[in-house]
């Protein structure tokens, strides 16, 4: 399978990465080189093979449903580019 320019632009939008026409052109070639490389996986007979879900056989750890951390609003917003009174500020999303 290979991708065309239109698909690359659609994927870039899905990935929320702005691309110029030149970027999209270049990426089309690069992505097709990688997709061409991974194509050989189709040679492998995987009938009856379960997809891997966990590389180490282990049971998911569980813990008591209790509050163990918190009260750190100031720490959480400390690195944000724009904040106001411990809220993250973003461009208007609701008219």
């Amino acid at each position: 399978m290979s991708v065309d320019l239109k698909t690359v632009k659609r994927v870039a939008h899905l990935a929320r990465i702005a691309v110029s026409e030149d970027d999209a052109q270049r990426m089309t070639g690069e992505l097709n080189a990688i997709l061409g490389f991974v194509e050989q996986l189709n040679e492998v007979d995987v009938s009856g093979v379960e997809p891997m879900t966990s590389v180490t056989p282990m049971e998911m750890k569980k813990r008591v449903d209790a509050v163990t951390d918190g009260g750190k609003a100031a720490d959480i917003v400390a690195n944000a580019p724009a904040t106001d009174e411990n809220f993250f500020l973003v461009p208007k999303v609701v008219e």
Binding site: A15, I17, L41, V46, E50, D75
Partner: protein, 521 residues
């Protein structure tokens, strides 16, 4: 006075405990070495000399009372991927511009609890995506090793007719060095270069497809990627969560064992951290490999592999045989599919993990006319080319209609790769010996690699299988190529059997000797 930066961790530990040296002296030696040499290597992207001196002072107070942890007073470099409270943590990406976490990763917290001293944060490929350290926002790292060739000069016998003095002639050998700058490998290029150039006693690193073992092989250092789940991933910037694992890069096998003991832990904050006590890895060093079964996988003999690598592999086999191990040929039939499967699984997980960099919670923000455009502009400006490429591949293979063809197929192939190893171990193989990389270090801005991303990906051909199967793997220096550059061998072990890797790697180290670059900086 001897150069304190030349001491291994084990040697420094002994001198610190014996009060022959102080942690402050040792730290100051490294701080000066970094000041002098970092402009040459670009191994550190942030240094913390004040913090280092403060930590060393605290270590000295403990050592004076005969107290202190396993790494008391040992100065370390930390890969920029580990969250360090109040200190530069950007995964060498522009998108995390100015990020200084308010928390400490489990790995670094473990090291500080054991008394280690932080020298600073080490350069790396952006978000650990790369095999040459060239994708870093902070620029490439220079390998302390340079290509060289041996020149022989024949000197004739000298006779002085008058006095009758005779100076016998002979052949003199000297090395002439090439000035071309080489990469230290990646993604843990800063870690490997700093350890190799004596700019830290040891370093933390991470490995998703070979990012500890390949740079270790390129710099003549020892690097181990532990079993998935052995080292907590909490507070380590995520790349591909089912593959990422932290480990040390060190000057020798013993130092790697000492560091891993401190880095590894059982951590409630990481649900994939395994509930197994951390063994004393150092105790495995010096044990015989007599009677051990060493598997040699035929699929690792790839087309176009340089003769130097094949010869190195044969030397490794001979050393282990001489030490009493039994050599058995094995087959790991799905080896060739590991790299293509990796380039689906890793980008898929990365596209999901890197969705968080949106210009809202941390780092860079580039404005746009609405919130979507703000996201798109921020990510376009913040991520480098390789990272964008992988996010795009990941987004594509996970998008509607393609999931089964790519991701599901790759995860099934991954099951088969893991099964290959399980069958070999079930047949009695204790450890598998392979080359660590298909070549020695290459030049910075290599034209072939730059033109074709897949060519760069092939660097991980021998290491990536280990991540796909979640196994432990160690790279140990074993010789030099025809240009005088270090080459490494890789040992792959059973899950959670890092001890056997240290034990076997030590036997190779004893036979091969240690490799250090000639100081030119």
């Amino acid at each position: 006075m001897t150069d304190l930066t030349r001491l291994t961790i084990a040697e420094a530990r002994e001198k610190l405990r014996g009060k022959e040296i102080t942690a402050s002296e040792l730290t100051n030696a490294y701080v000066s070495a970094i000041e002098q040499a970092n402009p040459t290597f670009n191994a550190y992207v942030a240094t913390t000399p004040d913090k280092a001196r403060e930590m060393a002072k605290a270590s000295d107070a403990k050592l004076a009372k005969g107290e202190g942890g396993a790494l008391e007073g040992i100065p370390l470099g930390i890969k920029d991927l580990f969250a360090t409270e109040g200190v530069h943590t950007q995964a060498c990406s522009h998108v995390l511009d100015g990020f200084e976490p308010r928390y400490e990763s489990t790995v670094t917290a473990n090291l500080w609890a054991d008394g280690a001293v932080m020298l600073g944060k080490l350069n790396m490929d952006e978000f650990a995506m790369g095999s040459s350290n060239e994708t870093s926002y902070y620029g490439p790292v220079v390998n302390p090793w340079r290509r060289s060739r041996v020149q022989t000069t024949v000197k004739p016998t000298f006779h002085d007719g008058g006095s009758g003095f005779v100076r016998p002639g002979g052949v003199e050998e000297s090395r002439s060095y090439d000035n071309m700058q080489l990469v230290p490998g990646g993604s843990s290029g800063g870690s490997a270069a700093a350890v190799s150039a004596f700019l830290c006693a040891g370093a933390t690193a991470t490995d998703t497809g070979g990012s500890i073992r390949q740079p270790a092989a390129f710099t003549g250092t020892v690097g181990i990627k532990p079993t998935y789940g052995r080292v907590s991933r909490w507070g380590t910037v995520a790349f591909a969560s089912s593959l990422d694992q932290a480990g040390p890069i060190a000057r020798d096998v013993r130092d790697a064992a000492i560091l891993l003991k401190s880095m590894a832990s059982v951590d409630a904050k990481d649900t994939t951290s395994v509930d197994l006590p951390v063994p004393d890895y150092e105790a495995a060093i010096g044990k015989s490999v007599k009677g051990m079964k060493i598997g040699i996988p035929r699929e690792y003999r790839v087309d176009g592999m340089p003769d130097d690598i094949e010869a190195l592999w044969q030397k490794g086999i001979a050393w282990l045989k001489d030490a009493g191990a039994e050599i058995v040929d094995i087959s790991l039939p799905h080896t060739k599919y590991a790299l293509p499967a990796y380039y689906i699984v890793a980008p898929a997980e990365a596209s999901s993990n890197l969705a968080r960099y949106d210009g809202v919670r941390y780092g860079l923000r580039v404005p746009g006319k609405d919130i979507i455009e703000m996201y798109e502009n921020t990510r376009a400006a913040g991520f480098g080319r390789e990272v964008k490429r992988r996010i795009m591949i990941g987004t594509y293979v996970l998008s509607a209609g393609y999931y089964d063809a790519y991701y599901l197929q790759a995860q099934k192939v991954r099951t088969l790769i893991k099964r290959d190893f399980e069958l070999a171990f079930a047949a009695g193989v204790d450890v598998i010996l392979t080359p660590a990389t298909p070549s020695a270090a290459f030049g910075i801005a290599d034209q072939d690699m730059a033109a074709d991303p897949v060519k760069m990906y092939l660097n991980d051909i021998f290491t990536v299988t280990v991540n796909m199967a979640g196994l432990p793997g160690i790279a140990v220096p074993a010789g030099l190529d025809g240009h005088g550059l270090p080459l490494g061998l890789q040992l792959i072990g059973r899950p959670f059997d890092e001890e056997t890797l240290f034990q076997t790697a030590h036997v190779i180290e004893q036979a091969a000797g240690r490799f250090q670059p000639e100081k030119w900086w």
